[in-house]
């Protein structure tokens, strides 16, 4: 520690360093160094969250599986609280996605699981997607669906079956409710994307019998806590790279730099500025003023 640090009140450096780790600038605020606290908080947080936004909120996650581990997270976690939820999310994800389930669904197949017992039925959610169906008059019907989906379990001939309806619009025009049925495929409740894939069959009554005439394919939203900083599957990572291209890499670098800059900030909170207050040259200059020559 240099002599100049005597001018700076660091209070309890350990507490300051811990606060600085948790929230950039909080350690300096605790020490009463408000100007620096404002600089650190604004610059580092804005860099981090700009990176998150530029990367479609998929830049920060921790993948702990061997072979898929992302070391970049260790740079991002330097920012503290904003990146720490990724560890909790990874733990939740690993409990939810067991190796057996991965093997069953295929690691890169979008984790579809059509077994009714795995699904949260009854389910009601906004739905956006596409319809591919054959209408009552035998003509093909297709277009963009936007509306609300409701699924429930009903007793069937061979055990419980899933049934449901879609209500909403087709290409922005209101349509009659579509009747939905098995087979139903739905993405896992936890995932890196804010949207969860869903597809199921459309059935119509033809000559007194329920016949599978087409299917709908799209997505329902995931709750915020089920996708924020959640590990990405290979498919989700490919999708985000395809969608954002080079911008995704820039976004990731932004979050790395934010985390690494906070390491300097933590050290500054603990030890004080590297070169001192910055006025040493002036003081030294004043000291070196020539003294009047003795006569």
């Amino acid at each position: 520690m240099t002599d100049s640090h005597n001018h700076i009140e660091l209070k309890n450096p350990v507490i300051a360093a811990i606060l600085a780790f948790l929230i950039p600038g909080a350690g300096h605020l605790y020490q009463g160094r408000t100007f620096k606290a404002a600089i650190y908080c604004f610059c580092i947080m804005s860099t981090f969250f700009c990176g998150m936004a530029l990367g479609d909120w998929k830049t920060v996650y921790y993948q702990s599986e061997p072979g898929k581990r992302n070391l970049g997270y260790f740079a991002q976690v330097g920012i503290g609280l904003p990146a720490l939820p990724a560890l909790i999310q990874t733990s939740r994800y690993n409990k939810s996605v067991t190796p057996a389930k991965l093997a069953h669904n295929g690691a890169n197949a979008g984790y579809f699981d059509s077994h009714p017992s795995q699904m949260e039925i009854p389910l009601e959610a906004p739905f956006q997607g596409t319809l591919l169906d054959r209408g009552d008059d035998g003509k093909n019907v297709s277009g963009q669906l936007d509306g609300y989906i409701k699924l429930k379990t009903i007793p069937g001939e061979f055990g419980p079956e899933i049934s449901g309806t879609f209500e909403g619009t087709l290409d922005n025009k209101p349509i009659e409710a579509l009747n939905l049925s098995d087979p139903i495929g739905i993405g896992l409740p936890l995932g890196g994307d804010s949207q969860r894939s869903l597809e199921c069959a459309v059935i119509r009554e033809v000559e007194g019998r329920q016949i599978d005439t087409g299917h709908i394919e799209g997505s329902i939203p995931r709750p915020f806590l089920n996708w924020y900083e959640m590990p990405l599957t290979n498919r989700e990572l490919d999708d985000v790279n395809k969608k954002l291209g080079k911008r995704y890499e820039f976004a990731v670098v932004f979050t790395w730099i934010a985390g690494l800059l906070n390491l300097l900030v933590i050290w500054d909170a603990f030890e004080g500025p590297a070169y001192g207050r910055g006025d040493e040259e002036e003081i030294t200059g004043q000291d070196k003023q020539p003294t009047p020559a003795k006569t």
Binding site: H7, Y40, T47, D56, L261, D268
Partner: protein
């Protein structure tokens, strides 16, 4: 995709580096010194030096890859 994100896709990637460099120079110099005026002066100097050096390197690389 939202309009700001679409615009962000159109912008030349180099533009992202300028605010990033400003942030790095401000935070780096703030960890070196304590007095606000010194921090700002040093970070402005650091920013322009880094910009000139990076610009020079870019020009050099552009010159070396000319007609390749």
């Amino acid at each position: 995709m939202s309009i700001p994100l679409l615009l962000a896709n159109q912008v030349n990637a180099v533009v992202y580096l300028i605010p990033l460099l400003a942030v790095i120079s401000l935070v780096y110099n703030a960890t070196r010194y304590e007095i606000p005026q010194v921090i700002i002066q040093r970070s402005i100097r650091f920013f322009f030096y880094a910009l000139i050096i990076m610009g020079g390197l870019m020009m050099l690389l552009a010159f070396l890859s000319w007609n390749l």
